[in-house]
């Protein structure tokens, strides 16, 4: 009997065993492309990044390509795209492009150069502040999520207070008392270690019960701190701090960073609470991996998706806060141009020279919008549950 050839599949038709061929980036890109607004956001994000870099390179130094501080009083409040009156200017005063691309302000400074410089300020403030916030958020959230069930014990509070008081007194110049407190703190810490081993082996003395009394859980401690921080009207908190500290770009970054870590903490804690029950964490423990390594090497990378999203959106709000501070005159100090203080300077001439307010205003609007759109696109991509919508 002849074999029916039709029932056999030619070998070339069978596909080889196929592991997913797409790399992570290819998959990311494929999903991102479906969301046009997010792509637009990403394009502006990248463009803004390069403009900011250009802003740093081209506007700093002793003889910058675009000089944002060059004052030409005879050329003040020229509208955008107007040509300079070359005959009135010294050679070094002529704008590099041969034209005032975005006009000039009330001192005749080139708004284009100032916007370039401001872009660098805005992006640094945004990235650094969010970097600080994310760092604090990850550490706090990591501790709350992983060690949350553990309780702060009385001896730990005692030692901490003693050490802090000692250090404080030393700095205040009360040296003898400070040293006494420090010694008490260090002895307490040493004794705690000794006693803890006894505690583990179940040999409890009556006064150990007091010394090791459980107080609140670590989770409660950190999460209530987050709640307290969230209760402050952040902008006014920042205003107060900035008013007290000497005005500088770094102080502003640090202050914004220190007041915006709460969201990240919550995200990270929530993620870690669910990751902690995963088998691979138990497996890592069974391999003898240390707790801190489990948190930061095994769990945090799995929890990065919401953090990245909130960081992207966080950059936008940091830029807004910085612009707001500069507008109120508490921001980066004057010789430096920022979008906020260009806006602020321009508001007096809003009817005579509307470009002075509209150009930085639009720049802030577009960048913040782009970051938000990209952040939301990122969230849809990184969270598989939201993908189904498309």
């Amino acid at each position: 009997m002849k074999t029916d050839q039709k029932n056999f599949v030619q070998k070339k038709d069978i596909e080889g065993p196929s592991a997913p061929q797409e790399s992570r980036w290819q998959e990311f890109w494929r999903l991102l492309r479906r969301n046009r607004l997010a792509v637009a956001g990403l394009v502006i994000f990248v463009a803004f990044f390069f403009i900011a870099l250009a802003g740093l390179v081209l506007t700093s130094g002793t003889s910058p390509v675009f000089d944002p501080a060059m004052v030409r009083l005879q050329e003040k409040l020229r509208p955008p795209l107007s040509a300079p009156r070359v005959e009135d200017l010294r050679p070094e005063e002529i704008p590099t492009l041969g034209i005032y691309l975005l006009g000039t302000d009330d001192l005749g400074r080139d708004v284009f150069s100032r916007m370039l410089q401001g872009a660098w300020v805005s992006s640094t403030v945004g990235f650094v502040a969010v970097g600080i916030a994310v760092l604090i958020g990850i550490v706090m959230g990591g501790i709350a999520g992983y060690f949350g069930q553990n309780h702060v014990r009385f001896n730990q509070i005692f030692v901490t207070i003693a050490l802090l008081a000692g250090a404080g007194l030393l700095m205040a110049g009360i040296i003898v008392l400070g040293i006494v407190f420090l010694v008490v703190g260090i002895t307490g810490a040493a004794l705690s270690r000794q006693w803890k081993r006894g505690l583990l082996k179940g040999r409890l003395k009556p006064w150990d019960k007091v010394f090791f009394a459980r107080t609140i859980s670590i989770d409660t401690l950190i999460m209530r701190l987050v709640d307290i921080m969230l209760c402050f009207p952040v902008f006014f908190l920042i205003l107060t701090v900035v008013a007290l500290l000497p005005a500088s770009m770094y102080n502003i970054m640090i202050v914004i960073g220190l007041t915006s870590w709460m969201g990240t903490t919550r995200f990270v804690r929530a993620e870690l609470l669910s990751l902690r029950e995963q088998d691979f964490v138990t497996a890592a423990k069974a391999l003898g991996v240390k707790d801190w390594r489990i948190i930061f090497r095994h769990m945090i990378p799995n929890a990065m998706a919401p953090v990245l999203v909130s960081a992207t959106i966080g950059i936008a709000s940091a830029i807004l806060i910085e612009a707001g501070l500069s507008f109120l005159g508490f921001g980066v100090p004057p010789p430096h141009a920022t979008w906020g203080n260009i806006l602020s300077d321009g508001k007096r001439f809003i009817f005579d020279a509307p470009w002075l307010t509209f150009i930085p205003g639009f720049a802030i609007l577009i960048v913040v919008l782009a970051f938000n759109l990209f952040g939301e696109g990122l969230r849809d991509i990184l969270n598989p549950k939201l993908r189904e919508r498309y």
Binding site: P20, D279, F280, T282, G288, V289, K290, D291, R297, H298
Partner: protein, 328 residues
């Protein structure tokens, strides 16, 4: 090598105390494969996690007993000392290869981490060892697999990778917690063969936790049968399979489908496993036991010695028993 003595682990909640392990003792000798057999929830995994000290406490509480590893009580060690033993001297293979590997790292990263935390060595040397390990556990083209993420491997390969991680530091004891349960039968057979080969090559001891008697018969040197947090019978594989002396073991073996008898319903043990929080008084098995007498309801049975290391926790059968092994 590894000796668990009278281990008691209770899960304590506000209203109840669940006695997950109620005085469990077992021993794993050097170069031996010991199987811990029992139904779900009888405390097999809890005892393994207690050995390594990774049982979440609370809610669990170790209420007594010892875990002696080379004469050292692991329950007395603090976290740092335990970390040096975990993965290095005693390693564990988990049940679910799908979830026991970290999804964001490559196989190579995870295996080399296992080596890196316990031993020092250059990057190239560690890479070589990883490749060797993957070869040993039978993963084809190991150089390329090192770069793969867990989701790119099949279930069997992932379990092989898990085994490679466990073997990375040449542990003296490997605890395998139902490593083949999530795999299909052919892969299961391959993994079991792998365990047997590795055990012979590396002279390690294996504590194999399972509920599958078919697996037990292939791999075990000695067997401990657990029921409701208690070891009810222990002995050599041959004794347990051919001459079980506890009604529970007898019931389990009778429930296995056989090839010789066709048709007819399979044997079942009536009733269900007791809730560990509300265990019956006396012998935990008595409500389901056909031999139960009044004493079983009130008194906790002791171990009855049948000789040659075959012990059973059923005095009723012991009294009726034929002469113990070895005797005339």
């Amino acid at each position: 090598m590894l000796l668990v003595q009278d281990l008691k682990v209770y899960f304590v909640s506000d209203s109840t105390v669940a006695r997950a392990l109620d005085g469990v003792s077992y021993e794993v000798r050097t170069g031996e494969t010991v199987c811990l057999v029992g139904e779900s929830g009888c405390g097999k995994t809890v005892s393994a996690l207690t050995i390594l000290g990774i049982l979440p406490q609370p809610p669990a509480q170790v209420r007594g007993g010892k875990v002696l590893f080379e004469g050292q009580n692991l329950l007395d060690l603090d976290e740092k000392e335990l970390q040096k033993i975990r993965g290095n001297r005693i390693a564990m293979v988990f049940q679910e290869p799908m979830t026991s590997l970290n999804p964001v790292f490559t196989i190579g990263d995870q295996i080399s981490e296992a080596i890196m935390i316990h031993e020092k060595g250059g990057e190239r040397e560690i890479r070589k060892r990883c490749i060797k390990l993957l070869q040993d556990v039978g993963i084809p083209s190991p150089e390329e697999r090192l770069k793969d993420y867990p989701h790119q491997l099949s279930g069997g390969q992932r379990q092989r990778a898990m085994i490679a991680m466990a073997l990375a530091c040449n542990p003296d004891v490997v605890i395998a917690d139902e490593p083949t349960t999530a795999l299909d039968v052919t892969i299961q057979a391959q993994i079991l063969n792998l365990f047997r080969e590795l055990k012979q090559k590396r002279r390690m001891s294996l504590l194999y936790i399972t509920h599958d008697l078919g697996v037990v018969a292939t791999i075990a040197d000695r067997i401990y049968v657990m029921y409701a947090g208690v070891i009810v019978e222990q002995g050599d594989t041959a004794h347990i399979f051919h001459d079980p002396r506890h009604p529970y073991t007898q019931g389990l073996l009778a429930s296995l489908p056989t090839r010789t008898k066709r048709g007819g319903a399979l044997h079942t043990i009536p009733g269900t496993v007791p809730d560990p929080a509300y265990k019956p008084a006396g012998c935990p098995f008595h409500p389901r036991c056909q031999f139960a007498i009044d004493n079983c309801r009130s008194q906790f049975p002791g171990m009855c010695d049948y000789g040659e290391g075959h012990l059973s926790r059923c005095p009723v059968l012991y009294e009726r028993a034929r002469p113990p092994h070895g005797a005339a």
